[in-house]
């Protein structure tokens, strides 16, 4: 069965989730990965969206973190203030998904500006929930397409902390959570070195060479000694993902026509 790099990325991200996780879900790729996990190997996965929906089980992917279906299928919905106070900061979330315009070797993220803050070349959306998701979730998974403009040697702006500018700042900041433990891209998966917290390539997706990853990474990327191949998506994973995306597409087309 053939598949796209994006499908490989989504499946690899989904696999990292466990049935017992309480997962803070962003929109887009994380949402697809989380819902795929729930439909395949992690049926007990609890999905929390920052709009306040807790334990939601959408039939189709939401287009925003505040879609009505998230609320209709949730165990309960709480005010946004409570979501950030009792649930995220309260330490109830085991895993958070983040992305950004730029990531560095220590998993720090920029979603604020490209260029100087006061005279930005590109003004990005900003933090949203990310700054505190990065701090308070038990661990963080980063999902981003691999590209040298995104995987940079130095961030233009540090919006959300990974392991800090030198890889060692979390403890000094009083953070008791693990920080980013996984980066999933359309080329590979990366894990932080246990000592330095520098992200290294852990698995290469089928057909991807080390050279290709290096070309698309803005720092001299390391590869783990026991570098492996990412198992390709199974037919079950692909079927579930495509079914979910088709169902989503159909539902959203129907809504617009009505």
């Amino acid at each position: 069965m053939t598949y796209t790099p994006t499908e490989m990325m989504t499946v690899a991200a989904a696999r990292a989730l466990r049935s017992e996780d309480i997962c803070f879900v962003g929109i887009g790729l994380p949402s697809a990965a989380c819902n795929l996990a729930r439909l395949t190997h992690a049926p007990g996965l609890t999905l929390v969206y920052e709009s306040g929906t807790i334990e939601t089980k959408p039939h189709v992917l939401p287009l925003s973190i505040g879609d009505g279906e998230l609320c209709e299928t949730a165990l309960t919905t709480v005010p946004v203030v409570e979501m950030f106070q009792y649930w995220l900061q309260g330490g109830r979330i085991t895993v958070g998904f983040l992305g950004g315009a730029q990531v560095d070797r220590y998993g720090n993220l920029n979603s604020t500006v490209v260029g100087p803050y006061d005279r930005p070349k590109v003004r990005l959306p900003g933090s949203g929930g990310a700054t505190e998701i990065a701090a308070h979730c038990g661990r963080v998974f980063i999902v981003m397409p691999h590209d040298a403009r995104a995987f940079v040697s130095k961030l233009d702006f540090l919006t959300s902390i990974g392991h800090g500018p030198t890889g060692r700042e979390r403890e000094a900041l009083g953070l008791r959570t693990e920080g980013p433990t996984l980066i999933v891209t359309d080329l590979c998966t990366m894990r932080p070195d246990p000592e330095t917290h520098e992200f290294e390539v852990a698995t290469l997706h089928p057909g991807v060479t080390q050279a290709r990853v290096s070309e698309n990474t803005g720092w001299p990327v390391r590869f783990m000694k026991d570098l492996e191949g990412t198992p390709p998506p199974t037919s079950g994973e692909l079927a579930a993902l495509r079914d979910l995306l088709e169902r989503t597409d159909r539902a959203h087309r129907r809504k617009q026509d009505s």
């Binding site: 879609d67 309960t76 919006t159 902390i161 900041l173």
Partner: protein, 279 residues
């Protein structure tokens, strides 16, 4: 008890130029009709406050309503950039836009502090983030019990909050159900509040377990504005117009096309009282 006014009168009486206004609604129940009325009345110099500026603030900023924006996430959800917001920040078009930038948690805490009559909120925020370098209104305090440094942000106290809700009863009590966002906090934090509603009913009835009721005495004005959240959605009334959110990307990319859209869809006489271009 609140007055029941037409939208045009509510805006002309309660939105003076240069005042601070929070139009809230977290993806759900975004008060587009009220924002469009502000555009039609050509109000300027406003400090616009909103966690997620969304298309509505993109439109208002592009029309020159805002002198300053306080926000925490300025994108077109699921689509991409807000091009008018970017043009204002990157190229000062149609004028310079001061920004005060926060995280979602900070703004949610700021509204809650405003609602609670506090001058500031404390939380665990901004760990390691450069946002503390660019926003002087992010400070810290020391916990007197543990010695930990905690983040402090000022309470948000807008001159006016505008929200859209499903129902008001004839006394002016308001019901919000579905995703409730930060609307209760925004209303209670603001000096005054305008609520536009889908329906005015005899009895609010009861709703889901998470529904929120705002008593009439917390609100100054109720406006009957069916469809007033379009193209966002009103749980139980209509769905989000996702196609328009996607189309907006192309409309907003170009200054001329944007201006034409505003003229035709918001400012032209046929853009009715509800002000919702596509309702």
């Amino acid at each position: 008890m609140p007055e029941f006014l037409a939208l045009s009168e509510a805006v002309s009486r309660y939105v003076p130029p240069d005042s601070s206004v929070a139009l809230e609604g977290f993806t759900h129940l975004i008060p587009f009709a009220a924002g469009h009325e502000i555009i039609r009345q050509r109000l300027t110099g406003l400090t616009l406050i909103r966690m997620t500026p969304d298309l509505l603030y993109d439109q208002m900023i592009g029309c020159g309503c805002a002198r300053k924006l306080m926000f925490s996430w300025g994108g077109n959800p699921g689509v991409g950039s807000l091009h008018r917001l970017r043009d204002a920040v990157e190229h000062a078009w149609p004028g310079p836009l001061e920004i005060e930038e926060h995280s979602h948690s900070a703004m949610a805490h700021g509204y809650a502090a405003g609602a609670a009559g506090m001058p500031c909120a404390i939380f665990r925020g901004y760990a390691g983030s450069d946002l503390t370098q660019v926003n002087p209104r992010i400070q810290s305090i020391v916990c007197p019990f543990t010695g930990e440094h905690l983040t402090a942000v000022p309470a948000i106290r807008p001159d006016l909050a505008i929200i859209h809700a499903q129902k008001a009863d004839r006394r002016g009590n308001v019901l919000i159900s579905g995703i409730v966002g930060v609307q209760k906090e925004a209303v209670l934090a603001a000096t005054r509040a305008i609520v536009t509603v889908e329906e005015i009913v005899d009895d609010l009835g009861t709703a889901g377990t998470n529904a929120v009721v705002l008593p009439a005495w917390t609100i100054q004005v109720i406006v009957h504005a069916p469809g007033g959240a379009r193209p966002s959605y009103a749980h139980g009334y209509y769905q989000r117009d996702n196609a328009f959110y996607t189309e907006w990307d192309a409309i907003a990319r170009d200054r001329a096309r944007f201006t034409q859209w505003i003229d035709e869809e918001v400012r032209a006489p046929r853009a009715g009282a509800a002000g919702a271009a596509r309702s």
